[in-house]
């Protein structure tokens, strides 16, 4: 069995346990998931329900204790660390709640970094970073250090960095968790534009405004999916209306 050819991400019977024996907790418990290309999937649930662990498993940052993970038709849970790293370079972009930007690098240099790791020339990396910073509205801030940027601007830099290698899927872990309303609006606007362009997203969030922008909403509890809601009907509504900010 392999993942559906149209699916960007597939899991089968995915298990991840933290701790061992009686004290062990199944953070992810027998999860089957299929995310088609171009879909935006939001995963919600209380703290500690296993959302972030699921995201780490999908991106190959942690290895499952059982089950399979497929990305673009390729099984990744059996790959070596080296192959996983190559896969992340090409196929996955991460966006974190805490931004995780390199403090000593400018916004542009942070965005260039994955392109350089992927072996692109400095010129190519710079050109690509410039385009993406323009796309997220930060051309004027390209030479600023993270400490000179607001939270929303930092997260937009992180989004641009996640996209620099044209990933198959963007995995976002509480991308608006540290942002105020205006910054959340900015980030969701960018996500909306990318989704329109066919970018696949898996977004872990506590924020219902973020979840409301997704094509599909999965609720998680104790490591398992407890609800799977298709939200196609919601999409025609304006973004601002959806997130309660007004257009």
């Amino acid at each position: 069995m392999n993942g559906s050819s149209a699916a960007a991400v597939v899991t089968r019977g995915l298990v991840k346990q933290h701790g061992q024996g009686h004290g062990g907790v199944r953070a992810v418990d027998e999860i089957d998931l299929e995310v088609p290309q171009g879909q935006t999937l939001a995963v919600m649930g209380p703290s500690g329900c296993g959302k972030s662990t699921l995201l780490h498993l999908l991106g190959g940052l942690e290895r499952p204790d059982g089950g399979e993970v497929w990305l673009a038709g390729r099984r990744i849970d059996t790959l070596s660390e080296r192959a996983l790293a190559r896969m992340r370079r090409r196929s996955v972009g991460f966006v974190f709640q805490g931004f995780h930007l390199m403090e000593e690098l400018t916004a542009a240099e942070n965005v260039e970094l994955p392109a350089l790791l992927a072996g692109r020339s400095r010129r190519q990396a710079r050109r690509r970073a410039g385009r993406l910073l323009d796309q997220v509205g930060l051309t004027a801030r390209a030479r600023h250090l993270p400490s000179q940027l607001s939270g929303g601007q930092r997260q937009r830099v992180a989004v641009a960095r996640a996209l620099v290698n044209d990933p198959l899927v963007v995995l976002a872990d509480e991308p608006t968790g540290n942002l105020d309303t205006a910054a959340t609006h900015d980030v969701l606007r960018i996500f909306g534009e990318l989704r329109s362009a066919g970018q696949t997203f898996v977004i872990v969030t506590h924020d219902e405004r973020v979840a409301a922008t997704a094509d599909r909403l999965i609720s998680m509890r104790d490591g398992m999916f407890v609800d799977d809601l298709r939200m196609a009907a919601a999409r025609p509504r304006g973004l601002g209306g959806l997130i309660g900010l007004g257009d």
Partner: protein, 595 residues
């Protein structure tokens, strides 16, 4: 009173939490102070051993030698024996120049013809066997040890076999191989051992083989301090007499240790420097934690004085404990180091007051210099800021970032990691340069050609001074390299821990564990390269301050190999901690950073 309880309690708690750092400081200070105390003790110990041997053997205040034996010399020496400043004398006696062979080894030997019953002055002390008797010989202890000869063995002197009936020491001559104070005819002397025979045996030996002979007279003066004045007062313009005062002989003993002192003293400074760099790197790695700790103390009412006391006391206490250990080691090892021959007897006193004070100052300097900055920072930081202190934020370095973008991923990561902590890179470079200085010194010592103590300069009897210097240099180099190894591992691990979040982010962006490992190693290798290259001229320069005029430099190929070996060793040493750090779970590092 409360502070008196609080400070030790906080210090002990912190030492328990950071045992590795405490052990490293203790080790570094122990090694540095032991080496320093040894270096400073050599003069005193050598003098003390000479004095004890002199007292035990009724050592002469002046030995007068004539290279031309004959009635004139005998008359002149007898006249000196009757001089008013002289209270007792021994001789004149015959000194015969011969060669000695045993166990396939041959050496020059000077044979002193002595009475079977020792006189009032220069009574050699037999340490095994008994004093000379007809047909037998007594060997000086340093000479016997070098030859590997004991009582009951037979030695061949000028072709005739003699039983060794005793082993003895004397303060009348310099330590082995300086027994021949003048050569035949008053010329310069070669390396020689000392043997005693009865007067008739010495006379028979000389006449049977027509061997060169000189005569000597041992004198005890009313005022030994005026030995040099006695020589000036009794110069004979018609006869060439050589006067050797007890002070001259004591000073000659130190010749054997001429290079030992700079090796130990300079070595101790280098070891102290490495100790400071290593401990400073560890302390810098803990700066944020120390600042938070200071913030906590301030929050519960501690003043700046108490905070400084708590932070400095830990390092000072450890440094002083290391100092005490170092001084103990110096005391135990000083006899072996200060007396490379067995020619002297007595107990070597431990390090003197000056050595103890200087070594303690070194220990305190290591503690204060390595912790002053974090202590001041913790003391000055406002309480609220201190409580939320994070690791020092690295500076943006646009040129370096642009340059690194042109490099392969491991070098890109390595260069950027190096740039995050330029101070640490400088410490790593200095640490490497210090190690290479020691290696250059070791190689240069091994490149020297030296005369052995065997007959005609043969190395069947090795040059004790050269061997002693090389052994000491090897010991100092091993200590320096050990500390440098600990430093390199510490630097790598501290760099890895500080950059853990950044490296985890790089992993999420597609860097492989291998690239992270190589990047962390490269971060250490980049400063190691200039450090190793700089260490060669620095080592040469330092050696030129102490080396003899005819000293030769180590071949360039050896030095190049040393630099390359240092780089390879650093790469190997950094590989393990870098690999361990690169394999830490990414998700955990990111979660910790987010928290």
């Amino acid at each position: 009173m409360g502070s008196l309880v609080l400070v030790p309690r906080l210090v002990l708690a912190d030492v328990r939490r950071h045992r590795l750092q405490a052990a490293m400081l203790l080790l570094a200070v122990t090694v540095a102070t032991a080496t320093m105390a040894l270096g400073l003790s050599l003069n005193g110990v050598s003098d003390a051993l000479y004095e004890q041997t002199r007292a035990a053997t009724a050592g002469p205040d002046v030995v007068v030698l004539s290279g031309e034996p004959g009635p004139a010399a005998t008359s002149a020496l007898s006249s000196l024996a009757r001089a008013p400043e002289v209270t007792a004398h021994h001789g004149p006696y015959r000194i015969v120049y011969a060669d000695l062979a045993v166990h396939g080894r041959t050496s020059n030997v000077v044979v002193h013809g002595f009475a079977e019953k020792p006189g009032a002055v220069n009574r050699p002390l037999t340490t095994s066997g008994h004093w000379v008797r007809p047909g037998g010989t007594v060997l000086e202890r340093g000479f016997a040890t070098a030859l590997g000869v004991g009582v009951g063995d037979r030695v061949t002197i000028a072709g005739r076999s003699y039983p060794v009936v005793g082993i003895a020491v004397t303060a009348a001559t310099s330590v082995y191989p300086g027994a021949a104070q003048i050569g035949p005819g008053g010329a310069g002397s070669d390396y020689s051992g000392l043997a005693w025979m009865t007067r008739p045996d010495a006379k028979a030996l000389a006449s049977a083989h027509d061997l060169p002979v000189t005569v000597a007279l041992d004198l005890a003066l009313r005022d030994p301090a005026r030995a040099d004045a006695f020589r000036e007062a009794h110069r004979d313009p018609d006869l060439r007499l050589t006067f050797r005062s007890w002070r001259f002989t004591a000073a000659q003993d130190l010749n054997l240790l001429k290079d030992s002192q700079p090796i130990l003293i300079v070595g101790s400074w280098l070891i102290g420097f490495l100790a400071i760099t290593g401990v400073a790197a560890l302390a810098a790695g803990r700066a944020a934690e120390q600042t938070r700790r200071a913030g906590l103390l301030k929050a519960v009412g501690a003043g700046p004085g108490l905070i400084a006391t708590v932070l400095l006391t830990e390092y000072l206490a450890l440094a002083l404990a290391g100092d005490a250990l170092g001084l103990l080691i110096a005391q135990l090892s000083v006899p072996a180091i200060a007396s490379p021959t067995d020619s002297r007897i007595g107990d070597a006193a431990g390090p003197g007051t000056a050595a103890v004070v200087t070594a303690t100052l070194l220990a305190v300097a290591v503690a204060v210099l390595s912790t002053l900055r974090p202590t001041l920072r913790a003391r000055r930081t406002a309480t609220v800021t201190a409580l939320t202190a994070t690791a020092h934020r690295p500076r943006h370095r646009p040129r370096l970032t642009a340059l690194s973008a042109l490099l392969p991923t491991p070098l890109l990561l390595g260069l950027r990691l190096t740039a995050r902590r330029p101070g640490r890179a400088v410490l790593q470079a200095c640490s490497t340069a210090t190690t290479v200085i020691a290696i250059v010194a070791l190689l240069t010592l091994h490149a020297q050609t030296e005369r052995g103590y065997g007959l005609g300069g043969s190395s069947v009897l090795p040059n004790l001074r050269g061997e002693h210097d090389r052994r000491l240099m090897l010991a100092v180099a091993v200590l320096l390299i050990t500390l440098a190894v600990v430093n390199t591992v510490t630097f790598t691990w501290t760099t890895a821990m500080e950059a853990e979040a950044n490296m985890a982010v790089a992993r999420t962006l597609g860097a492989t564990p291998g690239q992270i490992t190589a990047g962390l190693s490269a971060a250490q290798l980049l400063p190691t390269l200039p450090g190793a290259v700089l260490g060669v001229p620095l080592g040469d320069g330092l050696l030129s301050l102490f080396a003899a005029r005819n000293a030769v430099q180590a071949p360039s190929s050896w030095l190049l190999a040393a630099v390359l070996a240092t780089l390879v060793a650093t790469a190997a040493l950094t590989a393990l901690p870098a690999r361990l750090a690169a394999r830490r779970p990414v998700a955990r590092a990111l979660s910790a950073e987010a928290a």
